[in-house]
Amino acid sequence: MSERLLPAWSLPASAVETIGLASSWPDRVTRDWALGGATGEGVDVCVLDSGVEPSHPLVGELASAVAVVFDESGETRAVPDETGDVCGHGTACAGIVRSLAPACRIHSVRVLGSGATGTGELILAGLRHAIEAGHRVVNLSLSTTKRRFAELLHDLADDAYFRRTVLVASAHNMPVESYPWRFSSVVSVGSHEQDDPLAWYVNPEPPVEFFARGVDLDVAWIGGGTMRCTGNSFAAPHIAAIAALVLSKHPELTPFQLKSVLSLTATNTREAE
């Protein structure tokens, strides 16, 4: 980001010259411009999930790992995670991110394992931790149906959006409304059935905004091995990793601009060219 003091709430005529884009955009945004040669280097990606198995061969070293738990007084706290993954899913997401953005820094925030009761609070606290830590991308392959958390989650999602943290959330087709994937400040992802990890589609009919690989994929799992899995929860980390690639090449992009780049470089957008 620029060191210049940019206008925040209004744009006086004298300030017009100060708000040029930090880098110039090409006439046509291509994948090569967006992520060609990118490795995710320098980008912090947070996997907010069931934890990540330390030193899994498909994940490698984690930049950090915390667990969000309730302390004796019932308050949520982020503590160093000594447990790892209590399911396998978080390791799977981290492995997908690593496979596409090999040089990014992966952080694990575990919000599962302390019982299902109170998980809404743990998800909120975990997300707050990830945003305050300044991670550029947060993968949220989870959702809550509790309406009392929706407003708080919405505020947090907006906070992330304005602090340049991209939240990538898996969408789903359930008979009950769930969050945060429905918020327009997050990038929501459903699955397609192709096996190309770099094929992604922009949806002309939101609320689901993008489709990425989510069917029949071999993912990292606990025990150092792999598992064959299907679900939108595996599509989200594909987009999270692609976001990390774009941000490693264009760190100045805001979440709004990043979403535009994802849309302009989507497989169906390119096919229409």
């Binding site: 209590v86 299902a116 509790k146 789903h172």
Partner: protein, 205 residues
């Protein structure tokens, strides 16, 4: 059915409904088994409520942690999940073998959602070899799970009603009165009596 114990009747009916749900889920997917887990909020555990397939009756009542493992992840995150090659997950295989004696190779798990609450998880285990679960399968099971969730919600309501009526204190008396009133066949005499009582109490308060 016992006319003396309406709570027991509804419990039996809803158990039969849930058993039907797992049988149909198994049949739709030509699977080896299907299970419904109920989330017990008091103990923060998942409980096998209905099972179709191998060892079906020995499993009912088994309990598991509510936020670990695959069913726990689905319950907490509200996300459907398909997992193959389960036997290769040492932790899952050991827990499943200890709990049930049966280690499935593949499962699809979807949350059972009623309004904003997650009541439990529906799992379908082991489709015939070479037929992985597709996105369409998952969407179908998700829709079917909604039906199971309604069944599960009714079961929980019946249990709460039964527990309330069996207890002591004003709440239990009112619950029992409500049950009696539903069954009363006296041309509204009982209702008029209760309305008179309501007026007396309103004047006193």
């Amino acid at each position: 059915m016992s006319a003396e114990d309406p709570g027991h009747d509804s419990e039996a009916l809803h158990r039969a409904l849930l058993q039907s749900v797992v049988e149909v889920a198994r049949a739709i997917f030509a699977a080896k088994g299907a299970s419904v887990f109920l989330f017990d909020e008091e103990t923060d555990e998942l409980v096998f409520e209905a099972v179709a397939g191998p060892d079906e009756q020995t499993l009912v009542g088994s309990r598991f942690p509510s936020s670990t493992g695959i069913a726990g992840w689905v319950l907490v995150t509200r996300q459907p999940l398909v997992v193959d090659d389960l036997a290769s997950d040492p932790r899952f295989a050991r827990q499943a073998a200890e709990a049930t004696g049966y280690v499935p190779n593949a499962l699809v798990a979807v949350p059972l959602l009623a309004d904003e609450r997650a009541l439990g998880v529906l799992e379908v285990l082991d489709r015939p070899a070479g037929r992985p679960f597709s996105l369409d399968d998952m969407n179908l099971l998700t829709q079917f799970a909604h039906q199971a969730a309604i069944g599960l919600d009714l079961l929980r309501s019946a249990r709460r009603q039964r527990a309330a009526a069996a207890g002591e204190g004003e709440g239990a008396v009112i619950a029992r009165l409500g049950t009696l009133l539903e069954r009363a066949d006296d041309n509204g005499a009982t209702l008029r009596l209760l309305e008179a009582l309501e007026r007396v109490l309103a004047r006193r308060s």
